[in-house]
Subunit: 295 residues, 4 copies
């Protein structure tokens, strides 16, 4: 995707500015339009705050129109009719295009219950979520009052816009939208990093199938390079890291029992803050291991 | 089941002795018959060794007859015709009465390949095995020569007999047939045993469904009472202990993230020696844990 | 020492009863005398409570006389004149007969400050203390009011009496006066208990010399037998367990760096509750270790 | 100190080159003189290898003269007479200017035994050593033959020269002379880095006094900045890291026992490879901790 430079946007005509940022807010170029007057913006954060201020100051009707411009989550009818390209890729990332029939029913029931209660679509920044955490959010937010829920919707719209700005506009400041999830395997039997260990990151699912996110091998320092989920928030949800311990020790010639006491080591953990740093190391011997939230 | 006393067996008539021990070896009372003359036996171990010596000294034909007296594993046809009561309960313990269709095919193929190669049934002390480890044993033993396999069969018959003697005859000595598998949960956040933690022991299966063996709760000392699998060998195979960590800390009022970083902690391990002592403790905080093969 | 049976004391004459228990409270047979009338006592705990009730109900003068019957701690002059045999052995156990000159000065200053403020000797159940924790107690209790301190003295007299009763009288109930301090060495490199590891327990001292309390070797199960400090409270204070790790691995033929990364592993910890259970295990490899308060 | 650039040395006159590098080898400018002809050197490693080749090819007499140009370790008489500035600072770094009388005797005996056996001074690259490891080296090398020891001396001269070159000459390549020793404190009670923990690094000594090398406080990430010993090899020897755990938790308001179970946590370890990477983290709660050789 071509990325705009903040400086260029500051120098552009109003029309160019609005065209460039038209879909930062779903089908709502009027927000960019109102923000054009406030230029120049020194940082991306300032631009984002100015756009959000437009929404805060808008009439109740305009705010509701903005909310209604958003698609239902996982609504196959709407999908056929077409979402913005951004919405489609965001929803696919969370696995909403691969729902089990069980999950599909849960999403449909949740969507329907939500629309029946509030009369507008459920809005969530899905890049920060897994299928499970979306269903959790439905459950929690269905208890809200209409006023609370309008506020919640605007907050999520802000998160979506922040992510889109971070992707589409280059600036000297960086919006804090990227999470970090890494691991590190230490071989305490040999007293050194464990190189060549197969590692898998699996997103667990309560109602559908778990799916492998990353399959990799540790390097000479026992690490797996950059963040396992990089260039984006790490979706809230439950994961399992799986380490092929016995295969590693067998390759080294370490004598193991048959079958080995530890073969694949699973570490289950949940991400609660998609923009935070999660380091989940494994210290292991053929007979013991430990893990912790590191830094 | 009524248990005989070794002293009583020593004092009994030959007929009584043979009747009592007729099925220590599947449908082969002649072994007890030959061992009757060697009485008195000071210990159960001596009696067992004497019976095994009868087999060693028997003619090749008699030994093969003994081998052929054993049922095929998981052969539904034979099951209808009737095994000894002991064989039936031993095979059910390993889950052979609850095979998935996938597993059923694997067992049938293995049985057929084995009989085709060796001409006699595959004998294994199933009380020491899970479905997975039985399939592993098939694979390994199918590579044997006929002579090696005859020896392997006799060794397994000895293991079966040892277990039956331990169950049916009371003596001052105990045959080492019981395994031990225990856990212990330490709460390193509070510096004391973790009481009231839900723990599940699950037997994992490569080709069928995993099944829960034990569901329990830790006591005041963080333990689960006696061995999780007691009064028998711990079947060779792969298991998972699952600890409900977040539920425990929530009950204590410890603040956790939402969702909690650690919710259910799974520990996967394999049993290689069914009569050995396996202690698999968990040291945990809401943010870290470790485990090891303890004692 | 000959131990009396509670049943015998219940059946004895008053004079025999008082003679037997005369020194449960330092030079104060009147307490036993008053408690004789309450017989029979079903348990040792009842007898102890009855004796303590005598003190509670005594006149203020009698209570103060009891307090004054106790020796100064570490007062060499009084020592020459003679304490009861019990007091002498209790004070020696805490190392009060081996004070450094620095410590001697601190004890003398504390004693003098205490007597100057309160006019009666500082009473402490020294079997529950080390030199360091006695000096800590002086510091803390010197801030008390006279009334608080009279109460504190009676509480300590109760602890001393409880210990003496537990030692001198046999009953079906046991007074909870024994502490427990144990260790356990697991070799996570080999996946089994570490047998033959040299272990030392050292009492650390802030003002004098540290002293070795126990020097032992782990058994086949990686343990050191009964409690490292047994048959008594574990004195409050700071300790160090020292494990000869490199020597153990060298004996096993495990290759280590030169010098070994870990040679002697020191674990420093403090006892706050002399009657509690302290289990301080060591899980080790040549390159890592962990410890925790276990159970 | 002014540092030369390798490019400048390549372009300089022979006299300038020799003057600049005269003391890379103790009082032996003839080595630089012979190496001048081989210019230009692309890397510092090439220059070092060329200089070492001069020594290898030199006559036995010249090599011995080079060896004899080195000072005795810790010889106070020679110190008065004057070493090169480099030798003095190197020996002070190892603590040779602060020997206990016990250590002084050991050094003198070792020096004398060495000179008596070999007739030339004991040469060691002391920047890679502590007092203890120097005495260990004496003990080990005193068992050598004269030929072995001549070789050992030249190898140490090479290490000394490598370090001096790394310090005095700037090049695009870096000679691998720097070690790394770091720590990291994770608070597993809170699930985050432990900030504000006082940490001390102490060099332990078998025959004299231990001395504190570094006293610092962990930063927001639980680290202590750059390597605890930086810009040089980490001297072979035994160290203790001491962490003020109870003070940290008290500051956070975590309830501890009195005295706290863990107050200062000592971690003892040895450095065997002065140029290697040693990472010695601490994972702790108020009731448990672990450490390992990390990376």
């Amino acid at each position: 995707m071509e990325r705009f430079k903040l400086d260029a946007l500051n120098a552009a005509t109003s029309v160019e500015f609005v065209t460039a940022l038209a879909n930062i807010f779903e089908y709502s170029p009027w927000i960019a339009d109102a923000a054009a007057a406030g230029r120049p913006y020194a940082t991306l954060a300032e631009l984002r705050d100015a756009m959000m201020a437009v929404i805060e100051k808008a009439s109740s009707e305009d705010r509701m129109k903005l909310i209604r411009s958003h698609p239902d989550l996982a609504n196959k009818t709407q999908r056929a009719a077409g979402l913005t390209a951004d919405s489609t890729s965001e929803q696919d990332g969370a696995g909403l295009d691969r729902l089990s029939s069980n999950e599909f029913i849960l999403f449909e029931q949740s969507n329907n219950a939500y629309k029946a209660k509030f009369g507008f679509p459920f809005i969530l920044c899905v890049k920060r979520h897994t299928k499970d955490s979306i269903l959790d959010a439905f459950r929690r937010r269905l208890k809200n009052s209409a006023a609370e829920e309008e506020q919640a919707a605007v907050a999520e719209i802000g998160r979506i816009a922040t992510l889109r700005l971070a992707q589409q506009v280059v600036s000297r400041d960086e919006l804090p939208v990227f999470g970090h999830l890494s691991t590190h395997v230490l071989d305490s039997h040999a007293g050194k990093p464990a190189a060549g260990v197969e590692v898998q990151l699996v997103e667990l699912s309560r109602h559908g199938e778990s799916r492998t996110i990353v399959k990799t091998v540790t390097d000479q320092d026992g690490r797996t390079g950059r963040s396992l989920v990089h260039g984006r928030p790490v979706p809230m949800g439950t994961y399992e890291l799986r380490f092929k311990t016995a295969a590693y020790y067998t390759k080294l010639g370490v004598a193991l029992s048959d079958p080995p006491f530890l073969d694949t080591i699973p570490i289950q953990f949940s991400i609660a803050e998609p923009e935070a740093r999660y380091h989940v190391p494994l210290l292991m011997t053929p007979w013991s291991y430990s893990t912790y939230r590191g830094s």
